[in-house]
C-alpha cells in the first residue's frame, strides 16, 4: 500500500510521526536564526530548516523537488552564504543599539500579527473538495510528469527564467568587478620601492640566536657589542614576556667580571 496515500483527507500515520518530529525541530531552528549572535550560526540553523523542508517535499510526493532542494539550497546557496560570510568577516555580529527607536519590538509585534492573520485565515479556509494526492500524476514518474508540463505549458516561462539566470550571473560579475585606478606595479618598481623604504631591512630581519645549548626562537641573537637584538625575535613572544635570557647560555668562567649579565633584563 502506498505510504503517501491520503485516506479520508488524512495522511498515513508514518507521515504524521515524521511531521511532528521534524516540524518542531525546524521551527526551533528558524527561531534560533533570529536570536543567535553570530551569522555563521544563523547559516547553519538555516541549513537545518532547508534539509527539513527537503524531507517534507519528498513526503509530499515531490521527490525530485526534494533532491533539488538539497543540491541547490543546502549545497550551492548555503555554500555561497558561508563563502561571503568568510569574505566579509566571521565575527561581523549584529550591533545591539537601535537606529530607529522601538523598531525591534515593533518588528516582533508586527510579525506576530502577520502570523496570526495567516494562521487564522488558513484555519477558516475550506477547499470544498477532497484532497486528491499525486498518485495518478506520479504513476509514470515524478520527473516525467514535471518534464511534460515544463516543456509544454510552461516552456515560455522556462525560457524567460534562463534569461533571468544569465542576467543575474552577468550582474554579479559586473558588481564584483573592480576597476583598476592605478596601473599595476611592475617587478622592477616593486624592487625599487623595497630598497627605498626603511621600515623593513632589505636583507630581511636577523634570525634568533643560536647557542651551544639552545637554538629556539625565544632567545634573541647578540649584536656585535654583546647586547641582545630585539629584531631577531618575534614581537609576540616579547609581549608575552617569554623571552629567554641569552646570558644563561654564556660560558661561566670566560671573563669573570662582566658575564653576570644585565643584558637580558628586559
Amino acid at each position: 500500500m502506498n505510504i503517501a496515500a491520503i485516506v479520508n483527507n488524512q495522511t498515513q500515520s508514518p507521515e504524521a510521526v515524521l511531521f511532528f518530529i521534524l516540524a518542531p525541530i525546524m521551527v526551533l531552528a528558524a527561531l534560533g536564526m533570529l536570536v543567535v549572535k553570530k551569522a555563521v550560526h544563523s547559516a547553519l540553523l538555516l541549513a537545518v530548516v532547508m534539509v527539513g523542508l527537503a524531507i517534507f517535499y519528498i513526503a509530499n510526493e515531490a521527490p525530485f523537488l526534494g533532491i533539488v532542494q538539497v543540491v541547490v539550497y543546502t549545497g550551492a546557496v548555503m555554500m555561497l552564504f558561508l563563502f561571503i560570510l568568510m569574505l566579509v568577516g566571521v565575527d561581523s555580529s549584529d550591533s545591539i543599539e537601535e537606529t530607529i527607536k522601538g523598531q525591534r519590538i515593533g518588528g516582533v509585534l508586527g510579525s506576530v500579527g502577520v502570523g496570526f492573520l495567516l494562521i487564522s485565515l488558513l484555519s477558516r479556509a475550506e477547499l470544498g473538495q477532497d484532497y486528491v494526492g499525486l498518485d495518478l500524476i506520479n504513476s509514470e514518474g515524478n520527473v516525467q510528469s514535471i518534464a511534460k508540463v515544463l516543456f509544454t505549458r510552461y516552456v515560455w516561462a522556462f525560457e524567460v527564467i534562463s534569461a533571468l539566470l544569465i542576467t543575474a550571473a552577468l550582474g554579479a560579475m559586473v558588481l564584483a568587478h573592480r576597476e583598476r585606478i592605478l596601473p599595476r606595479k611592475s617587478q622592477r618598481e616593486l624592487a625599487a620601492e623595497r630598497v627605498r623604504q626603511t621600515s623593513i631591512p632589505v636583507a630581511g630581519l636577523p634570525g634568533p640566536g643560536t647557542y651551544a645549548q639552545h637554538n629556539a626562537v625565544d632567545i634573541p641573537a647578540l649584536l656585535p657589542d654583546g647586547s641582545p637584538s630585539d629584531a631577531s625575535v618575534s614581537k609576540v613572544i616579547a609581549a608575552r614576556g617569554e623571552l629567554a635570557n641569552p646570558a644563561n647560555f654564556r660560558m661561566k668562567e670566560s671573563n669573570g667580571n662582566s658575564a653576570n649579565g644585565e643584558a637580558g633584563e628586559e
Binding site: 495522511t11 507521515e15 504524521a16 511531521f19 511532528f20 516540524a23 525546524m26 528558524a30 536564526m33 533570529l34 551569522a39 544563523s42 538555516l46 530548516v49 523542508l53 517534507f56 517535499y57 509530499n60 510526493e61 515531490a62 523537488l65 533539488v68 532542494q69 541547490v72 539550497y73 546557496v77 555561497l80 552564504f81 561571503i84 566579509v88 549584529d94 550591533s95 525591534r104 518588528g107 516582533v108 508586527g110 510579525s111 506576530v112 502577520v114 502570523g115 495567516l118 494562521i119 488558513l122 484555519s123 484532497y131 486528491v132 494526492g133 499525486l134 495518478l136 510528469s145 514535471i146 508540463v149 515544463l150 516561462a157 533571468l164 539566470l165 543575474a168 554579479a172 558588481l175 564584483a176
Partner: protein, 99 residues
C-alpha cells in the same frame, strides 16, 4: 494528520522569516531570512500541489527556487561591493547610496 499542518508550518516559517528581516541588522542574516520566507512559500506550493492533485505547484516551486538563486547571487555581490567601500555589512550603515 491533516495536510493543513504543512500549511500551518509554512505560515509559521514565513512569519519567522519576516520577523528576522525586521529585527536583524546584519545584511547577510537579513538575506538568509528572505531565503527562509521563499522556502516557506515553496512548502505551501508543494502542499497545495498534493491537495489538488496538480503538478503545477511543484513547477512553481522550481521557478521560485531559480528566482531565489538569482536573488542570492546578485544580493551577495551587492553586499560584497558595499562591504568593500564601507567595511561594514550592517544594513544601518548603508543609509546613503554614495560614500
Amino acid at each position: 494528520m491533516s495536510l493543513d499542518n504543512y500549511l500551518y508550518l509554512s505560515a509559521l516559517l514565513f512569519t519567522i522569516g519576516a520577523a528576522g528581516v525586521l529585527i536583524r541588522r546584519n545584511a547577510i542574516v537579513v538575506f538568509m531570512c528572505i531565503e527562509l520566507m521563499l522556502n516557506a512559500s515553496n512548502l505551501a506550493f508543494v502542499t497545495f500541489s498534493r491537495m489538488h492533485g496538480n503538478i503545477d505547484g511543484q513547477l512553481f516551486a522550481f521557478f521560485t527556487m531559480v528566482v531565489a538563486a538569482c536573488e542570492v547571487v546578485v544580493g551577495l555581490a551587492i553586499i560584497v561591493t558595499i562591504y568593500r567601500s564601507r567595511r561594514s555589512a550592517s544594513v544601518d550603515d548603508a543609509r546613503l547610496l554614495k560614500l
